[in-house]
Amino acid sequence: MRSKSTSNSNTHSNSLSRQLGLYFVLAIVFVAGLLLALNQLAGLMGTATQEAQAVDFANNSISAVLREEPPQLDSSKATDSTSGLVLGHIMEGLLRMDLQDRLSPAIAERWEVTPTHATFWLRKDAKWSDGKPISAADFIFAWQLALKPETGSEYASLLYPIENAEAINTGKLPASALGVSAPDPHTLVVKLTRPIAFFDKLVVFPTFLPIREDFYNATQGRFGSDAKDLLYSGPYTIKSWVHGASMLLERNPHYWDSNRGKLAQINFAYITSDATATLNFFKDERIALARLQAENLTEALRLKWPIRRFADGTVFYLEFNHREDHLSRNLNFRKAIQHALDMEELVYKVTKLPGYLPGKSLFPEWLIGVEKTLREEYPASTVTVDSAKARAYLALAKEELGLAEFPEITLLTSDNPVSNIQSEWLQEVLKQTLGLTIKIDKQIFKQRLAKMSSGEFGLLLGGWGPDYNDPLTFGDLFASWNLNNRGRYKSEQMDALVATAQNATATPDRMKAFGAIQQQLFDDVVILPMYERGVTYVVHPQLKGVKRRVIGAETDYTYAYIDPDA
């Protein structure tokens, strides 16, 4: 009985598996038909990305990746680095940074900054992508636009040195009251509210880019939202932009400077933030440049690719909460931590990422002083790590604070691999050396910002990237009125130094003020500089002349070219 049933079920399953086989074939036919239909459908939607090829010598084009969809290409409102990268290719303002990171003429062929005025003389051959000349009125319109309260431009405050700008932004004066005039179409005269020696460095920022009024009005509120809703002043125009998918740049035929825009096309073929995917695209020769993250650095080393590095200009530091009833308000407590933490160990043994530099100062190494770099002219003071000294400072702090035991201290950090490893190191070192208990409070972006603003932290892993190429972009951070001073450090002496740095006209005087700010940050242990961030990346061997920048387009392809013999 039993054996019979088994043989029966055997033949049963044989004929049935044949039946199942038939279904399988039918399923494949069905899927094939479906694929064909979906292919048609996807084609109809016009979302296809142009085929990516890392380097295409025949068409003089390259492909690259964007980390995210550019959130804002309306230059009066743009704030983020991805938009900055794209704008750096498609737009040009009065001045720009050249290949040696020096301020150089762009649409303005020469300029002059005096304590009361800044004057820019525009070149006559600068044209918009529709062939019309770029005139001083285009700058005036763009700046007025950024200042109108209803525009809601986050970086409008960069324009405040211009006469009446702040009053316009607060709605007290109409936009037409802005202290900018154009005696003729090729001269732009700016009245300044206060002497500002580095005004020429400010105008490199995207908020100062020109926008033409008639074009802006014709887009009916959609300016910057699509390729056709933009008018280009830079070496490239956007030929096609598929939101979230790709962006194809093409050389602007009306652009005046033949030294830039050597590549006929730049195809941002993919938009993804995934480091592994980016590296895969690079391996598959789809993109010509890939940024490496900690997790795929070893892979790149294994493949023996030449790895390049550059410091992206951002400084990271440990911030103390200086508000009332926080332990870190006590100077000896801060000094204890200062003497316990070895930033070289952090960078070389813990973070272990190429390109990172141990932090010595709020002012990163690349900032220029009077003649040499600021850091060469005003070297930063440092302490030698000494656990005995650290413990002595902590004992003093304990006495001054009248504490029997130190309570738990919250360290606020963001949630990413680099921050995680660093905060764990901090936790461990402070426990070992000082016996302090640190609670790590990991928060995602917006929640971390909320806690930073409301002061819900004892210690904070903070950082700052520059907006313009002047030490002041870092120097005013710890003025009592600066909202980015998250620990609310308050010192009259510091405020006075910042005021000098802002208002003095002679460069040596300003640099002296920055040197003094650096010294006070050290003496008073306002913050502890941790490191200057580095970026590592790989480039296709045939692609030359890619410029990495601290200010402006982080990756600049406008001078890049293909060398087929490389």
């Binding site: 279904y23 073929a269 895969n280 980015n484």
Partner: protein, 311 residues
């Protein structure tokens, strides 16, 4: 039947309203706000931004304005992509997620049913063991691992072949879709295989199969008419929510394969606290899910007369 459908639709709309309300207040209760950024702006600029987005009004007023707008089908303007309407974002990116999702669900459903039937047929023999092992893998390995591995695999194939066999990422043709869709549908396929297997095994022992066998019906007929058709029922039940789940859950696949779908916006909006996009995508997907569940319930009656509702 019509009354039942209407009743379900009204309940569905109430559900969507509830989703919208819960999301609205939940979202505003989360610390942080869409206007905060790495760099603080001056109080004045912040006030300008709040006025621009209507965030300066009391929460209940915002809620009322918001309900009025969505009842007219207007989800507002995104905070992060400041020039784009949420409606446009959904309109441009949902079809892409949908196409990918349809393909993924077809892979999952066909594969699940076939593999499930196969394992039931070869119960406790090697095809069963192999497939069930793969099923456990498919369910337990997270999609970002599978996505990364399959993409690396594609790179290796292309390198070996010296030409592009299949694109590594991007969007546009059917060749861009195949691998991402398989990755996207994999865990659902694994789940459906298990479901199909157990429901097949359950049915083998039922009275009506025995009756059919004793009537002398051909094996293949019993298999296709009685066994398969009945065993599919539980699969259809989970298919509705699975469709909604797959078309929304494409975040990882979309990021890895650089596909411009809506799943990305859905997840990134939450990280960025982009209020309007969070509301738009949640309400849209909520409505979609509710619709799919109703549709499946109605379909169920058609497939299985036993659950048909009396008019």
């Amino acid at each position: 039947m019509l009354r039942y459908t209407l009743k379900r639709l009204v309940l569905g709309i109430l559900t969507v309203w509830f989703i919208a309300t819960a999301t609205f207040f939940g979202m505003h209760a989360v610390p942080g706000d869409p206007l905060s950024n790495d760099k603080s702006t001056t109080a004045q600029i912040r006030a300008n931004l709040e006025a621009k987005y209507g965030l300066d009004k009391p929460l209940l007023t915002q809620y009322a304005i918001y309900l009025k707008n969505i009842s007219q089908g207007d989800f507002g303007i995104s905070f992060t992509q400041e020039n784009r309407k949420v409606n446009d974002i959904i309109k441009e990116h949902f079809p892409i997620s949908a196409i990918l999702g349809i393909l993924a669900i077809v892979f999952a459903a066909l594969g699940g049913i076939l593999w499930g039937a196969l394992t039931a047929l070869y119960r406790n023999r090697w095809p069963d063991s192999v497939i069930m092992f793969l099923v456990i893998l498919g369910i337990s390995v997270p999609s970002f691992v599978i996505a990364a591995i399959s993409q690396m695999f594609l790179v290796n194939i292309n390198t070996l072949a010296g030409t592009t066999v299949l694109p590594v990422g991007g969007w546009g043709t059917v060749w861009h879709m195949i691998v991402p869709a398989m990755v996207l549908g994999l865990s659902t396929m694994a789940y459906l295989t298990r479901l199909m297997r157990s429901s097949m095994l359950e049915i083998v022992n039922t009275d009506y199969i025995r009756t059919a066998q004793s009537k002398g019906l051909p094996k293949t007929r019993i298999f296709s008419r009685h066994q398969l058709r009945n065993a599919i029922l539980p699969v259809v039940t989970v298919l509705g929510p699975a469709i909604a789940g797959i078309t929304t859950g494409g975040f990882v696949v979309e990021i890895v394969f650089a596909i411009p779908g809506l799943g990305r916006y859905f997840v990134e909006a939450i990280q960025q606290l982009d209020y309007t996009v969070i509301m738009g995508t949640t309400v849209f997907y909520g409505a979609f899910l509710v619709f799919m569940v109703i549709l499946v319930d109605l379909l169920y009656g058609w497939i299985d007369p036993r659950v048909r509702i009396n008019p």
